[in-house]
């Protein structure tokens, strides 16, 4: 048979199959005409297609349908399920290669595997967790991603952990009828394990009895350190904004977790408090009948838990065996044991404000020890109260620098992701680093015998010096750290330092990677974002073009990095006056990605930028409707207290100004300022933007004294942050001078005009909507 002949058979066979069953024979006869052999070939294929044959049998035998849950993961064979929850499923498994007689627990995480960085983040997290070696922490042995299967094309991350055959802490205590003292001893052990993890910069964030097992010989083992974090990060954009609640147990959630605020070591201290409460009384401090977020949040953030000694009475009436039997005591005796020290200790650990709890798991354990030893406990005194909040001013910078560096180093591995225009997210991350520091400073306080003050800037400067010096022979690590430190400087408004570091990071990356490597592109994007923030779009553009080309070539079409680069490029082009090109970029972005992403934070950003651009171009109606849409989308995604909200409000204010509707403008700008005042410290340049906008409107409405006041504030911030020659600072000076002039302050106005001339002899005021 020739290939041509076969092709004819193939085609005719397909055509015949396309016919209805009854029509096939007639069709085939007709098509074959006198070619009997062709008819034989095709009709025998039809017969072979209609019933299962030997090939089908083989295919069934060999083409194993891959189940979503594999029988084998890496070198481990799954034996049976141990349990499952919001995080995923845990299996008992053993080495499948027979190398060791070892049983392990494998946690297969339930995550949305389409997260672009999940794999990298997971590997980074695993490296950190692998460092935890403590007799009371279940060892992390291994981890990886499962084999991709249809429907789960990226594979699922899994952790392989030491298998602990044991009971949850609370069950163990009740079954063995442990006394209060015995329970406190076990609790102390738990605290030491948590403290150890904190010293390794790992927060558990999901401490609860089912994560704390006790083996038959009475050994306590903590499970699942750091795993919650991975899931929270994974869920941060989708799940958390939908349900508001990360995947945690509401009864054990701390106020800051419910509110979505920074998680610190204090979160674990809170959960230790809840655990102690349950260990002592037999019930949890909060009863949360509803899983509706705001109800959960209200109870956890506002309701004071009953004193444990009071709770005992209630438990005694509802479930007497919980006390008589499980605690081997009487309600009255237990009440007396708890009232006083233990009440205070538990409630101190569980304070609503993280900074007013015990400064560390260790100090909580120490107080428990004091109680057991009959010594006075510290919990009653409130001197710890304000320790963490003002840490920066109160701690010596040597310790600060060291710890800062540590945190940042750990931070790379844990949180290193895209460095793009996700300002709020990055700020949040920087704040997390800072509050993590706060927690650690609490622990380190005794070291700080002498006085002295340190600012965040000092801390950063010291870290840079250390990275520069100590990592000379590790240029890639150095580059990554420069990249992170640069971004932190940028977030704190120290643009010159940020500029130096980000340029060095890029140069280092270019020395070690090809120019079109993703790492280089991310570095370019990061530096370009800074340039745009510095009002220097001309430097940003070529960087962005290059980054974008790399992203387009190297990333799958739905990778967000392309969007970041496009947004940044649009902004840069628009700032550079190329509004046609900028508009085209934004529209292209929306056309391409909006159908895919729908309600998405980056889509909202594109809408805001396009809206702003259209305002400049006079298309007010479309601008306003895009901006309203963006504002609604952002409120849905991030709530109202967020820089994204104030930015959108500003853009709406701009449209109103352009239309001459100054009252509306003042209202939008005012709302924007209200949001910013909740978010930023005085002097922040975002506040300056609000003051400037409100000042210009006030001036246009003839309220000159108010205008002068607002513009003065704006100018001061801009000059402090960027220098007097900065275009925003010059604009503020220009409008301020006009107000002062009208108010009769000729010399003040003169001085400003001269200053403007001095910095930019060709200055023309802001060419935007005013």
């Amino acid at each position: 048979m020739t290939p041509e002949r076969w092709q004819r058979i193939h085609e005719l066979f397909q055509e015949t199959l396309d016919q209805s069953v009854e029509a096939r024979l007639a069709f085939l006869k007709e098509a074959c005409g006198p070619d009997k052999e062709l008819f034989e070939e095709v009709s025998s294929l039809l017969a072979a297609a209609e019933q299962p044959g030997r090939f089908d049998r083989l295919a069934e035998r060999f083409e194993e349908p891959v189940a979503t849950v594999p029988q084998v993961i890496g070198p481990y064979r799954l034996l049976h399920e141990l349990g499952h929850g919001g995080m995923g499923t845990v299996y008992l498994a053993e080495r499948a290669d027979g190398q060791f007689e070892q049983r392990v627990a494998i946690k297969l995480l339930a995550t949305s595997a389409r997260q672009p960085n999940l794999h990298q983040r997971f590997l980074a997290e695993r490296q950190i967790l692998a460092r935890l070696e403590h007799p009371h922490i279940a060892r992390l042995l291994d981890g990886g991603m499962t084999i991709p299967v249809p429907g789960q094309p990226e594979g699922l991350p899994y952790f392989v952990m030491e298998y602990v055959p044991g009971q949850p802490l609370t069950t163990y205590c009740d079954v063995h009828r442990l006394s209060v003292e015995q329970r406190l001893r076990l609790f102390e052990t738990v605290c030491t394990a948590v403290q150890y993890a904190h010293q390794n910069l790992i927060i558990h964030r999901d401490l609860k009895p089912s994560n704390i097992l006790v083996t038959d010989d009475g050994t306590v083992k903590l499970l699942d350190f750091g795993i919650a974090k991975l899931l929270e990060e994974d869920a941060s954009e989708t799940l958390q904004t939908l349900t508001g609640l990360p995947l945690m147990t509401p009864e054990y959630a701390s106020p800051e977790q419910v509110r979505g605020e920074s998680i610190t070591t204090a979160t674990d201290v809170y959960q230790l408090g809840v655990l102690l409460y349950e260990l002592l009384t037999g019930r949890r401090p909060h009863r949360i009948p509803s899983r509706v977020l705001h109800e959960v949040a209200r109870i956890i953030c506002q309701e004071a838990p009953q004193r444990p000694s009071t709770a005992v009475e209630q438990v005694a009436s509802e479930n007497p065996t919980a006390i008589n039997h499980a605690r081997n005591t009487s309600p009255e005796r237990l009440r007396r044991q708890l009232s006083g020290d233990l009440d205070t200790i538990v409630l101190m650990a569980m304070r609503k404000e993280p900074s007013r709890r015990y400064a560390s798991a260790e100090s909580l354990a120490a107080d428990v020890q004091r109680h057991l030893a009959g010594q006075p406990v510290l919990a009653r005194t409130d001197t710890l109260g304000y320790r963490a909040t003002k840490f920066v001013q109160r701690h010596r910078w040597g310790v600060a620098a060291t710890v800062g560096l540590l945190v940042l180093l750990a931070g790379i591995a844990v949180t290193m992701t895209l460095q793009a225009r996700r300002i709020a997210e990055e700020r949040n991350r920087a704040e997390q680093a800072v509050s993590f520091l706060a927690g650690l400073f609490g622990q380190l306080e005794p070291v700080n015998a002498r006085g002295g003050t340190v600012t965040t800037k000092d801390l950063l400067d010291a870290s840079v010096a250390q990275v520069r010096h100590d990592l000379m022979d590790q240029p890639l690590l150095q580059a990554r750290l420069f990249g992170i430190l640069g971004k932190v400087y940028e977030l704190r408004g120290h643009f010159a330092e940020a500029d130096t570091l980000l340029r060095q990071a890029l140069a280092l990356h270019l020395r070690h990677y090809p120019a079109d490597h993703l790492v280089v592109a991310e570095s370019q994007l990061s530096l370009a974002a800074l340039h745009t923030n510095q009002s220097d779009p001309v430097r940003a553009e070529p960087l962005l073009r290059s980054a974008l080309a790399t992203f387009h070539r190297r990333l799958p079409p739905d990778d967000l990095r392309q969007i970041y680069a496009m947004l940044e490029l649009g902004v840069a082009l628009s700032d550079a006056g190329a509004s046609d090109e900028a508009e085209a970029i934004f529209r292209e972005l929306l056309n391409e990605f909006r159908p895919v992403l729908g309600t998405h934070i980056e889509i909202a950003s594109a809408l805001v930028y396009l809206g702003g651009l259209l305002t400049q171009r006079g298309a007010y109606d479309e601008a306003e409707s895009l901006l309203q849409e963006a504002l609604a989308m952002r409120r849905e995604l991030v709530g109202n207290e967020h820089p994204f909200i104030s930015n959108a409000l500003d853009a709406l204010g701009d449209v109103a100004v352009a239309r001459g509707m100054l009252d509306d403008a003042a209202r939008y700008y005012g709302e924007s300022l209200d949001v910013r005042l909740l978010l930023f410290e005085a002097g922040h340049t975002d506040l300056a933007a609000s003051y400037f906008n409100l000042g210009v409107v006030a001036q246009a409405q003839g309220r000159f004294a108010e205008a002068a006041d607002l513009l003065q504030k704006a100018r001061t911030s801009y000059v402090d942050a960027f220098g007097a020659g900065n275009p925003n600072a010059l604009d503020a000076a220009h409008y301020l001078a006009a107000s002062l002039d009208t108010l009769g302050d000729r010399s003040g106005a003169e001085a400003l005009w001269q200053s403007i001339q001095h910095h930019d002899s060709t200055y023309v005021p802001h060419s935007g909507s005013y």
Partner: protein, 217 residues
Amino acid sequence: MAHVAPPLRYIGKALFSLSCPCIPMNAHGDITRLLLHLSEGNDTAWDDLMAVVYHELRQLAHQRLRWERKGLTLGTTALVHEAYLKLVNIDRLQWQNRAQFFAIAAQAMRRIVIDYAKTAKRLKRGGGQRPLSLDADDLGPLPDLTEEDADDLLALDDALYKLATLNDRQRQVVELRFFSGLTIAETAEVMGVSLNTVKRDWNTARAWLNRELGGGL
């Protein structure tokens, strides 16, 4: 500076040394490099790749098949995907390379499975006893392959050679579907042809193979 950070070196080392404990680094690096070469038009890379993938799949099969509890399936799909994860530094590869990988893996898997069948037949003929150890060229302990399976597999192999002379694309569709366990959609992606083409090729080839292998059960 008041303090130097002693943990610095430790953290730095941890960052670099803990890649994936289960992956031999050289194989990892090699295959990525080879696939990249291939995409740059370096044809000799194909043979090198074939050798690496074949070797890896064999090793995996060796480890895994021994532990299949009931020996019911060869689990070729899982093997190929696992080999892919093990061999390929995914970050550096684009889709085209991935496609090439599965094309190569399908061929390698075919060779491995056929080797199994041959060995199984030889052993069955020799009395059905499984030796405790096999010589270096053998595959180690075997999956529970019946003589019937082995015969069908050898017949399939012959039929695929024949199919290749009639329409090599259809041969590849069968290989990818049968030996690499790709779905119709994945096969279409890997081969760079339309979904419909793969569906039609598969239909015809399947019917033809059923007929060639001797029809009914």
